[in-house]
Symmetry: C2
Subunit: 242 residues, 2 copies
């Protein structure tokens, strides 16, 4: 059976890097990069380019792209959008290319580009994602983007949700994945309530963007499957037909 392992922080990514070529990776940044990316595709974005710096996004903005930039949870002044999924409406993104830079999620995507396949995961595309992973049947790494290299609850909970969905067809011996499953089981009846204690949610409250949390926890509300390949994120079917 294929295996599932969970990388609980980008700071330990190097421990998994050597074997990445024959594994699929799901990049997880629930609050909010990967949630926002799923929302953008749901609302008609054609591609998303994750870039390292706000300057890079600004350069593409001049060429007609939508530019989204967030640092430390806030929209960088001068950009079209920040990192709130609620910014990425049909009106603002339909038919558009988006350049995006965020604190943790963009960096995590770039770290694992050498993987067999890189998927963008969030509660919004949970079933779409797990169906595909089950279908492919490759060894799997669940890569939590964390917060500035520290462990975070919401990304770990989502890793637990994915592993729970796949537990019949995958072999789970990895302590981090076992912990993620147990935490998800403690939380799943009311994810929002459970996450009220999380440090990131407290950070949200201080930034007055609390309403994002509900959006970020809506399971299967954006049935898309974004994949990261050759430096850009596209929807899987578009990639196949491209």
């Amino acid at each position: 059976m294929p295996t599932i392992e969970t990388i609980i922080s980008p700071a330990i990514f190097h421990l998994y890097e050597e074997e990445i070529h024959h594994k699929n990776v799901v990049v997880i940044d629930i609050l909010r990069a990967t949630t926002t990316m799923c929302t953008a595709f749901k609302n008609g974005a054609t591609e998303i380019l994750p870039v390292a710096k706000p300057e890079d996004a600004a350069a593409l903005q001049k060429m007609g792209w939508i530019a989204a930039a967030e640092r430390h949870g806030e929209t960088v002044p001068g950009f079209d959008l920040g990192n709130s999924p609620q910014d990425f409406t049909k009106e603002s993104v339909n038919g558009k290319k988006i350049a995006i830079t965020t604190t943790n999620g963009t960096r995590a995507l770039q770290m694992c580009e050498a993987a067999k396949a890189v998927f963008v995961g969030s509660f919004l595309n949970l079933s779409q994602l797990t169906n595909e992973l089950q279908h492919r049947g490759d060894d799997l790494l669940l890569f939590c983007a964390g917060w500035k290299d520290k462990f975070n609850l919401e990304d770990t909970l989502f890793a637990g949700a994915v592993a729970t969905e796949l537990s019949a067809e995958f072999d789970i011996f990895d302590d981090a994945t076992l912990a993620a499953i147990d935490l998800y089981n403690s939380a799943k009846n009311d994810l929002n309530k459970y996450l009220q204690k999380a440090s990131h949610v407290k950070r949200f409250k201080s930034l007055h963007i609390e309403s994002d949390l509900d959006v970020c926890l809506k399971i299967d509300s954006a049935p898309v499957l974004p994949v990261f390949k050759n430096g850009v994120i596209v929807q899987m079917n578009n990639e196949q037909t491209a």
Copy 2:
């Protein structure tokens, strides 16, 4: 109120290093370094010197020290003892100085030497440890030695046990500590049963040292308080009167 944070792997220790001077650290390597150290003091060892390499322990062995060396879970040939707490009987360690080198625990101790105080923690000295931490009232870092820089369940469970004991007097906002508390709550009714799924316990089984697990989970069975200071570990009271 003082704070508690949990360092879930030595690979992210650097994120906490800057503020370490005014914080107490508990080094946690349940299977088995810190458990074994507590057992050695309970059985009369006078001091323990954690050394980086088996060669260093061998040099001290020639000077009459007891030398203990473990790599990848097994006793290194030619040494008096390995890393099993069951090796550290009164007969073998009473009145003796011990030089010890282990895969993860020794390294973790050396990493945090600059802390305000460094304690050796295990289920065997849980109450002794938490009483002292409560008494001191300083900010606290629970440092899980892990397994080769990966997250492990048993160290995280112990971090959860310490945080649970101290939750009335300490402020806990850190996601890793919150997760550790929840995992400990899932496991506490039968730690041994819970840990049967852990990767480290499976490694134990393959090394035929299963009986160590029960010993390593006996709460308050070694009421000692080892502290690491100036490169050596001694019992706290001995250090104070020295």
